[in-house]
Subunit: 304 residues, 2 copies
Amino acid sequence: MDIRQLRYFIAVAEEANIGRAATRLHMSQPPLTRQIQQLEEELDTQLFVRTPRGMELTQAGTLFLAEARNIRALIEQATERTQRAGQGRLGRLDVAIFGSAILDRIPKLILNFRNEYPDVNVVLHTMTKAEQIAALRQNRITVGFNRMLAPLPDIRSEVIATEALLLAVNLNDPLAAQPALPFDALARRPVILFPSGARPNFVDKVLALCEARGFIPEVAQEVGDAVTGVALVASGFGVCVVPESATTLQYPGVAYLPFADAPADARVDLSCIYRADDHSPILTTFLASVRKSAALQDGAARGA
Amino acid sequence: MDIRQLRYFIAVAEEANIGRAATRLHMSQPPLTRQIQQLEEELDTQLFVRTPRGMELTQAGTLFLAEARNIRALIEQATERTQRAGQGRLGRLDVAIFGSAILDRIPKLILNFRNEYPDVNVVLHTMTKAEQIAALRQNRITVGFNRMLAPLPDIRSEVIATEALLLAVNLNDPLAAQPALPFDALARRPVILFPSGARPNFVDKVLALCEARGFIPEVAQEVGDAVTGVALVASGFGVCVVPESATTLQYPGVAYLPFADAPADARVDLSCIYRADDHSPILTTFLASVRKSAALQDGAARGA
DNA sequence: TCACCTAATACCTTCGCGGTATGATGAACA
DNA sequence: TGTTCATCATACCGCGAAGGTATTAGGTGA
């Protein structure tokens, strides 16, 4: 059996006339006759009774008509769905995110993507940087978000945004009264650092910034993530350098102050990472969407 | 797209290797490669990534594999069902029955058929003889059961069985004490006749039998069917000639007595009727089944 | 009885499927 | 690093089957 034969059969059944059906199928009558005969032969079942007025479906033919229509619809649907999947508009996308950047930028990026491609099932996984790289290599995720990545041959990374650094200060601290702080305010308070995970990380960044300004901060505590860091600030353990997006954390008793001298290097990147050899359409569409919304957010941020 | 291509695609997807798939499909590798390429081209979607170790499904390919399997299963099912319908093993059969013969023979015939062909949906319609013929001509039924049919050019009829006639007598009637009666007992009692519908009918039959024996019975009442007739016997209106199968009606106060002189013509036929030009398999199987069980019942009746 | 509709048949041409032979390419291994 | 082995892709050929034209067969209705 052949899908073409199904199409022919449906046409003949609907027209109840081979000649008209042939016209509708843009072909001549004899080959159509033969195809119908072959179909009947292959099924070993009479589908039509030939009358002088045309072709009349038998009971078996009526049943087969329903089945044939169903099959044809299914094929069309399969074609359409496969094409959409091939364009990255349908399917599943496993995305890894990390603790603190989930706070602001990433949810917006993902939300935009989901609005644009509602038939892509986005599954989020929280992972550390090292876990993300391992998961990418094992194909458990397609894309990850992270900061401060060392270059790797098989993993490509793309900077989505850079964020300014702010200082989280306890409201009881006199520093909190100022609109902005010099960077060396860090030298005068115990500092809470995060995360305590794989290097290079945000800790190194902060220490390097201090070193560049000629002091070594007093480290009050190293913690796992921004949320914990801010919590310790609220408890009066010290101050904590956080990226802009952490300000979404409206923790009572904590103020976020910009650095008055606004050093150009006091920024941190937000990157997305993926396999260098992954050319899947779903990744392609996701990256395109992320780049677009990142540019928009960036523009908005600069504009504001 | 082509069902053959679906088969090829499934094989390649399952083997993850064109060469092995070709072996499984009993063909060589190059045409299979080409068919897969054509399928991808037609769908405008990459279904596989080619690796030095073979063919690996893309996400779109994985989706299409599921769809393809589904479609193939549906096609197989459609084929199988259509074939069964073509053999008269699946479908719908509209059967007309009439009032009194429903009592015994016909339910057995239909029950046998339904046991043998459980996937045929038998729909019963109660109709008079005239209605049956009209319904046959309008294709509203496929087969009918009736008695005493005048021959018609477009309707074929087949005698399924003949039944002996019995006399239904009120138990208070002295006649009821006898084991059997002479036919002219009818001359000595008021007679209830049925049915009162279209001629020729059972009424004519009884009157003709009387006439052949030189008497005209006193007609107490003409009624529509055997059930009513027997009810009137129970009420003492008179006697009533009924076919054998009416004895299934175990009406209190009524005895069914055979005719002692057992006239060979005191029998009535039970026929089934159908369109002469109907060669549908479902009718064919039904008629075969009816003939078989009628022969069995007949044998059993004679044996007993 | 004839005209007209229907489907079926005969015969031809062409397209495409499948076959064989060969090429291109990356992986594994010495 | 070169060699070998596997993979899939390409080139080209022959044949079968699909579709086309012309015609026949058969039943209906005027």
